[in-house]
């Protein structure tokens, strides 16, 4: 039902008169072309821009995430390196500042440990190992003097590289810690090693203080992927983490991967130089992209709403414009047919006037001759009045008079076809029309009643057009009625400045579906009997032209009533459509 209401008039229109150029008048196709083309041209840049914006924004946000992560990893690596360097330099300072002999002294070493803890903290023991790998002095919680490390890997490394930083291990204390050892070569080319065990607490604080967004985590693994200390989300210390060990790089690197659960994560890492440690920062990508998701959601809605608005506007404008073209075309068709119809009527009028004129002269002769016969009977005594002959002459004279009336009416009618606005008598026009159709009414036994009240004034209008209007409507009524029908013509005032003329018949009536189309050009239900479908459309056009209005009410099987409202002041209506729904 809604579809029917919003369906434009041109949608189901088929121009019966367009012939081989029918495609040009396919308004549905014109509408489709206009709508699709406009929608395409309008939507394409919008969608294109939206896609570009989407990709650029997403890339920018992802790039920003990677950059931020990279910066965080770099800064943290610097902090960790500084932390380790601080301790390394402290040990180096100690071996340079103290002689080997001093360091062999347990009290001295104990004092150094105390000072170290005061200044740096987190040093749990100190040991001095000679070149044979034997720990010759030790201060700390364990009794490790005399222990020999010569076979251990770390000892070999520190001998070769002068420095060793271990990864985290439990050791004898059964608590995670790591070791820094520095080698000091003596003047006699022998050497000793100062070795310090460091707690993890200070080291861990450096990472736990980090502000990490996106459910981020920062932790340290060694080159085998063993977690070195607990982090925000990882507690499996000294166990292998489920992430693969990132490949070595001297610089900070960031890449995207996935965690054990398959969630996308951003991984940033940095190898800490001269240590077995790798700093790793992971962030949940979904969490990081949350602001982007919000923007994307808004972008999507903006796009969707824009598309809907554009489509509504495009469809609305296309419909409006094509409808206007359709209306203009219909107006053009109507005008062409009216011109054609008016020309036809004018030709008929001229023919009728010529015929009437030619007949009037012989009629006048018959009239005079018959009159003369009557005069002879009347004035000359030698022609005795013969009642029968008198009757015959009277009959001829009355027939001539009747013919005269017909020719006068014919002339009167034809003459007004081209006459424009003038003062008219509605009664006289209706009388003329009925005069023409009177015989047909008699033939079909149609009773015609005219109710013409006295208060209807003469007014200015186009007599010729009114004649055509009434002739068409009365003719239609006759066609709708069977023998013995009844035609009522009722004239009344319609407000102060108009008159109403209703022409009602008790004929077959018009169905609801036909009612909507009766004023359309070429619509006919009488095509088999020669109907052109132009009568009512032309009637409608004529009524519009003289500034009037026409309405129709009908019930199938009961009859039809056409009501015409005519203004008492002549004036054309502007901007009227060619057809209106009957009411």
């Amino acid at each position: 039902m809604i579809t029917i209401r919003i369906k434009p008039k041109f949608w189901d229109h088929q121009d019966a008169a367009s012939g081989p150029f029918r495609a040009l008048f396919n308004f549905r196709r014109i509408w489709k072309q206009a709508a699709f083309l406009t929608a395409g041209v309008t939507l394409m840049p919008l969608v294109f821009m939206a896609i570009i914006d989407y990709n650029v924004t997403q890339k920018a946000i992802e790039s920003e995430i990677l950059l931020r992560t990279s910066r965080l990893v770099s800064n943290t690596r610097r902090t960790l390196s500084f932390f380790l360097d601080e301790r390394k330099f402290a040990l180096n300072f100690i071996v340079h500042d103290n002689s080997f002999e001093n360091l062999k002294n347990a009290d001295r070493l104990s004092a150094i440990l105390e000072n170290l803890n005061k200044s740096l903290g987190g040093v749990s023991d100190l040991g001095v190992i000679d070149s044979t790998g034997t720990q010759i002095n030790y201060v700390g919680p364990h009794a490790l003097i005399g222990a020999n490390y010569s076979t251990q890997a770390w000892y070999r490394e520190v001998r070769e590289r002068n420095l060793y930083i271990s990864d985290v291990f439990l050791g004898l204390r059964k608590t995670p810690h790591f070791v820094i050892a520095v080698k000091h070569t003596l003047p006699d080319d022998s050497f000793f090693i100062l070795r310090a065990s460091l707690d993890m607490d200070r080291f861990r604080e450096l990472l736990s203080d980090l502000e990490l967004d996106g459910k981020g985590d920062a932790f340290i693994i060694n080159h085998e992927g063993i977690l070195q200390m607990p982090s925000r989300y990882r507690t499996e210390v000294l166990e292998k983490i489920p992430l693969s060990v990132p490949e070595f790089s001297p610089h900070t690197r960031v890449y995207q991967g996935s965690d054990a659960k398959g969630n996308a994560i951003v991984i940033g890492y940095a190898y800490i130089t001269d240590t077995p440690f790798i700093l790793v920062v992971t962030k949940q990508k979904d969490e990081l992209l949350k602001p982007w998701f919000k923007t994307r959601y808004q972008l999507f809605w903006f796009l969707a709403v824009s598309i809907v608005i554009i489509l509504i506007v495009v469809i609305g404008v296309s419909t409006y414009l094509v409808n206007n073209i359709f209306m203009a075309d219909q107006k053009r068709v109507m005008t062409l047919h009216q011109v054609e119809y008016a020309n036809k009527l004018a030709s008929i009028g001229r023919l009728a006037a010529g015929v009437a004129h030619e007949i009037n002269n012989p009629l006048a002769i018959i009239n005079e001759k018959a009159g003369l016969i009557k005069d002879i009977f009347t004035f000359r005594k030698d022609y005795a009045p013969d009642s029968k002959l008198n009757g015959l002459v009277d009959s001829i004279i009355s027939s001539v008079e009747r013919c005269g009336t017909i020719t006068k009416r014919l002339l009167n009618f034809a003459r007004h076809i081209e006459v424009k606005v003038q003062k008219i008598s509605l009664k006289s026009i209706i009388g003329d029309v009925l005069g023409f159709l009177g015989k047909e009414a008699e033939f079909k036994s149609i009773t015609i009643s005219v109710d013409f009240p006295d208060d209807i004034p003469d007014f200015e209008s186009d007599r010729g057009k009114l004649q055509q209007i009434f002739l068409n409507l009365v003719n239609n009524a006759f066609a709708a009625m069977t023998d013995g029908g009844k035609l009522e013509i009722k004239i009344s005032r319609h407000g102060d400045d108009a008159v109403s003329i209703s022409i009602s018949d008790d004929g077959c009536g018009i169905s609801d579906s036909d009612m909507k189309r009766i004023f359309e050009p070429f619509f006919t239900t009488k095509s088999r009997t020669g109907g052109t479908g132009l009568g009512l459309s032309i009637t409608y056009g004529l009524v519009q032209e003289i500034g009037g209005d026409i309405q129709v009410q009908s019930t199938v099987g009961r009859g039809t009533r056409f009501t015409i409202i005519l203004p008492l002041t002549y004036g054309k209506k502007q901007g009227e459509g060619y057809a209106r729904i009957a009411g």
Binding site: A353, A356, H357, E358, N360, N361, L363, A364, I365, I366, N367, E368, K369, G371, L372, D375, I376, T378, F379, V400, E401, C403, G404, K408, R409, L411, N412, R415, H416
Partner: protein, 123 residues
């Protein structure tokens, strides 16, 4: 009263002249404007009944020419091309003359003749 009848239909004017004669009105008739002009030069008429459409010189033109010779003459026009509106327009053009549409009843014609003759001689 002497009447001049001018119409290109001889049957019409001759019969009409005869009918007027029955009523004591002397009527001469001609079937062309030239004949009418020749006749009015010789004879005097009180009234002329003219067809509007006479070949060569129309009824209205003929009236003007006759009036130059006989300004006192009265005129009645008849036409076969007549409707009610023609009558009004024709009557307006003919001034105070009368304008009748064929076929004309003799009674109507006589009535109009009397009326036109009673009009003041102010043309």
């Amino acid at each position: 009263m002497r009447v001049l009848l001018v119409d290109d239909e001889e049957q019409l004017v001759s019969t009409l002249a005869e009918r007027l004669a029955f009523r004591g009105i002397a009527a001469s008739w001609v079937t062309s404007s030239m004949a009418a002009l020749e006749l009015v030069e010789k004879e005097t008429f009180d009234l002329a009944i003219l067809d509007v459409k006479i070949p060569k010189i129309s009824g209205l033109e003929l009236k003007k020419r006759i009036q130059t010779l006989h300004p006192e003459m009265k005129f009645i026009f008849m036409t076969g091309h007549g409707s009610e509106d023609d009558f009004k327009i024709g009557a307006a053009e003919a001034g105070k003359d009368f304008y009748l549409v064929k076929p004309v009843k003799i009674e109507s014609l006589l009535e109009k003749m009397n009326e036109v003759m009673q009009q003041g001689d102010d043309k």
